[in-house]
Symmetry: C2
Subunit: 227 residues, 2 copies
């Protein structure tokens, strides 16, 4: 089976811009026949993103959408992350020091390994070799578990499996966020049904690192050509 | 910090022979000042092992024992494992074919990566670099996620973390189970308060692969010297 266009795929679907675009890409461009989506309620303040994931999964006509409750992810990392700990304020992008940008307060200890390991278990149990992951390394601020190195090492571990060697595929890893949005616009992605803001209020705050990055990317993607 | 005798440690404690011996080794031989234990209810039929883990953690006087409910591990792997799926019978060791011995029906898809990733998150959140893991590769039957290769690749992934580079340490990896029991006997481990049987009935069945292996190891460990 080629990972270029597999018969089956599992996609990690957060309900944000990147994973939603990835889902639509898999279903309407690659036309993968059997897509399963998996989303997590892990104690994130912006759990409202999961409702967007649900909408998008239904829209894409996936074979199954698993929404998994993993409150222990938040509980085990209390005191560790502004994303899951009510007592730690989500910073604005401006408040982040350069040092913090390599591992900001919104980083959740080992979250991506926990989520990917569950997605890989789900894939293995459904005899699916490809797990699609919307990670994108060129964010304004960085997480070690969103890098090409991280992905390669996770894959080298999963490759040891003696029956179903699951492989995590991250097609957008080296893309700019604006390029992801350009692709999504081509594919007709409904970005009104995506969620980005870390604060998870009724409306997006517009100042958290995630909101600022989204806004900049949309401006860049949809800018009129200068000449 | 040396991983030989760190100030802090997290130990994966299933309540079986290997992890219990490891816990007692860390507390009474290495005398690590700050030990945290973590156990999981993941939908295993032999969830009674967790009560043994609780007893041993208290006996060892750990700083904290986290028992984490992760029913999704069983739910995501339904149809994949005799250990978590009520409709799949636990085989006896004799029923296992040679082919099955490299990945037997009691294997739970990607379980160890899921559990280790949670233990690593817990360690990172408590500023602990060493996660101790009672894996032992020389079982009668094999799991890819109980091998030295698996461990090395997990560690190479975790080493990318920019703040707390957690390392999984498995001192018994190349030991025979009988040697683990010999060490435990020296340390005074109370093996009556450990659980091994996969079936998780009122009493150990004596025929599942895990029971047979335990019994053989105890016979080997406690055999009178021939001369």
């Amino acid at each position: 089976m080629s990972v270029e266009r597999p018969e089956k795929a599992v996609v990690l679907l957060s309900g944000g811009v990147d994973s939603t675009t990835l889902l639509v890409y898999l279903s309407s461009r690659l036309r993968i026949p059997e897509i399963r989506a998996i989303s997590f309620r892990y104690g994130q303040k912006h759990v409202c993103e999961v409702a967007m994931a649900e909408w998008q999964a239904q829209e894409a006509g996936v074979k199954e959408h698993r929404i998994v409750d993993v409150p222990h992810v938040g509980a085990l990392t209390q005191g560790g992350s502004a994303l899951t700990d009510p007592s730690i304020e989500i910073p604005t992008l401006q408040q982040l020091s350069d040092a913090e940008k390599t591992q900001p307060p919104t980083y959740v200890p080992n979250r991506n390994m926990m989520l990917l390991s569950m997605a890989a278990a789900y894939a293995e149990s459904t005899q699916t070799e490809a797990v699609y992951y919307g990670a994108q390394a060129q964010d304004e601020y960085g997480y070690w578990d969103c890098t090409t190195d991280f992905l390669e090492r996770m894959n080298s571990t999963l490759a040891l499996n003696r029956k179903v060697a699951v492989r995590v595929v991250a097609p957008f890893m080296s893309w700019r966020k604006a390029d992801i949005i350009r692709l999504g616009d081509e594919l007709g992605v409904d970005y009104a049904h995506t969620w980005t803001c870390y604060r998870g209020g009724d409306q997006s705050c517009g100042t958290c690192p995630s909101c600022v990055e989204r806004e900049r990317a949309f401006v860049e993607a949809r800018r009129e050509p200068t000449i």
